[in-house]
């Protein structure tokens, strides 16, 4: 089996003169759970569609399970589970019809288990549907967004795919169902060789299940590391000056800074604590504090555009 289930080299997509995805290089190893995060319009969905062959890249290439994305064979597609953003399904079908339609593209579970190919796990599907409180005869168009997301997830997980790509899969799910879904994902991870790439705006979910994080910002990968590495690397430090603040700040790993009165807040990436202490001493800092942040806070600071307008600045003035 290939070491990397997903590879991208210089993957680029331009819409007109604007790059949606700009020279993405990526390698996702087998068995990895990757959280794919980015702000709105960062290019996550575009990157996923490029990898799945729905879009043609302007430059570069990508491979899934060893197969070129632009020529994914039916056998390879069978081994990839994909849940699109928004969970758009055939509205006029019932859940039963959809299950019948979807299952026709997979082998029966038992036979495929022997052959090592993707197979349809009907029991898993209907157990999930029952758990979600849905029934076979319900029409898709009559379901709420959340219920539709549940059906979509059930359809995606039932074939036990080798590689799971999900674009904001928990969009529309309530907290309880979201947790159940995440627990289900953890269960999947326990199976040897399952790889998951999912994008989400809920960093808490990423924190819970992912072991790698990929941060996309304006089409460019800004970070591709383990969650632990990201947590360790991104620091927010508040410095309090007794005297005047230095005009310029020169510290290794500075991402951006904010000044307010005698306080200077800095976001640093990859700066060791010793370096911070050293700089504080040399700049005449009275006291400093490394602010405790969760993954979401770190992500926001990491991807904050420099010099952005803050519409709620009146809070600071107060």
């Amino acid at each position: 089996m290939a070491e990397y289930v997903l590879e991208a080299q210089g993957l680029t997509k331009f819409y007109g003169s604007k790059p949606a995805v700009d020279h993405i290089d990526l390698k996702i190893p087998r068995g990895c759970v990757c959280g794919f995060v980015g702000r709105n319009g960062a290019g996550k969905t575009t990157a996923i569609k490029l990898m799945l062959g729905f879009l043609k890249p302007t430059a570069g290439s990508s491979r899934l399970l060893g197969c070129d994305s632009q020529n994914l064979t039916p056998a390879i597609r069978q081994r990839i589970g994909y849940a699109a953003e928004g969970h758009h399904l055939f509205r006029d079908a019932t859940i039963g019809n959809l299950a019948g339609f979807h299952s026709a593209f997979f082998h029966k579970q038992l036979a495929s288990a022997k052959q090592g190919e993707a197979g349809w796990d009907g029991k898993l599907f209907w157990d999930m549907i029952e758990y979600f409180g849905l029934s076979k005869k319900q029409k898709i168009k009559k379901l709420s967004n959340g219920q539709r997301a549940q059906v979509s997830l059930a359809l995606t997980l039932a074939p036990n795919p080798e590689l799971l790509i999900m674009d904001d899969p928990t969009l529309g799910l309530d907290a309880a169902i979201r947790r159940q879904f995440l627990e289900g994902m953890i269960e999947l991870i326990m199976h040897q060789g399952r790889t998951i790439l999912f994008s989400s705006h809920i960093l808490g979910d990423i924190d819970r299940v992912a072991d790698r994080i990929i941060v996309l910002d304006k089409g460019v990968i800004r970070a591709n590391c383990t969650i632990e590495q990201f947590r360790t690397a991104v620091k927010k430090v508040r410095f309090v000056f007794g005297q005047s603040m230095p005009e310029t700040v020169d510290i290794e790993g500075l991402l951006h800074s904010r000044r307010a009165d005698k306080e200077l807040e800095m976001v640093l990436v990859g700066t060791a604590d010793e370096k911070i202490a050293e700089w504080a001493k040399s700049a005449g800092v009275e006291e400093y504090q490394i602010i405790k942040q969760n993954l979401e806070d770190q992500f926001i600071e990491y991807t904050a555009p420099i010099g952005q307008i803050r519409p709620f600045a009146w809070e600071a003035k107060q």
Partner: protein, 217 residues
């Protein structure tokens, strides 16, 4: 197996269209044929004789075009409802997916529209209804009219799948189908009309395949 699943999926969504065809063609066609039986008594002793099914002709054209257009609208709806990704991620090639959609359209036209037409034709051919029976040429002409439904299916589908803007070439598929319709009835014989209709099916079909296989979704 997979192709049949795709076909079943397509047909499931258009069964309503088929039933509508039956009601429209058989319902209105029956009245047209019945009216024609009354009119036949007053026609000339020797002269050009309209077909007993002359009243059914415009109905058949209308029903076929309507059916074909509704079937082609699927391509618009799938873009609007964003369900292309769900369909395209099946473990089949894009060619197979497109062929299943075209096959579903052809089957609907053949079975529902063509079936109703055949029933009407057989009804009109029954002894005792009309003095002079409808000819086989009329039957084939009816199938030509049904083929116009496929022309419009291709045109509407091509317009639906096109990524061009409305004010550029997006609607060219539909316009082309309209041109084929006009040219067909510019006093052509059955052979030339068949060629025109065949061109009206093949030219957009070729483009449909190319766009479907190569476009971004």
């Amino acid at each position: 197996m997979k192709f049949l699943a795709l076909l079943r999926g397509q047909l499931g969504g258009i069964i309503g269209t088929g039933i509508g065809q039956i009601i429209l063609i058989l319902g209105c066609g029956y009245f047209a044929v019945t009216a024609a039986t009354q009119f036949e008594r007053f026609s000339e002793n020797f002269g050009s004789a309209s077909s007993p099914l002359s009243g059914v002709g415009p109905l058949l054209i209308f029903a076929s075009i309507l059916c074909g257009s509704i079937l082609g609208l699927q391509f618009w709806l799938m873009s609007y409802r964003r369900t292309w990704h769900f369909l395209l991620h099946r473990s089949v090639s894009r060619v197979t997916i497109l062929l299943s959609m075209i096959t579903a359209a052809v089957l609907t036209l053949v079975v529902f529209t063509g079936g109703c037409w055949t029933l009407l034709f057989l009804y009109a051919s029954l002894p005792g209804l009309f003095v002079l029976p409808p000819t086989l040429q009329v039957y084939f002409e009816g199938w030509l009219f049904i083929s116009l439904g496929l022309v419009f299916f291709m045109g509407v589908a091509l317009s639906g799948i096109s990524t061009a803007k409305f004010y550029t070439t997006k609607l060219f598929g539909i316009i082309f189908a309209g041109i084929i319709l006009i040219v067909t009835f510019m006093s052509l014989d059955i052979f030339r009309a068949s060629i025109v209709i065949a061109a009206g099916i093949l030219i957009p079909a070729v483009q449909l395949f190319s766009v479907f296989l190569n476009r971004d979704f």
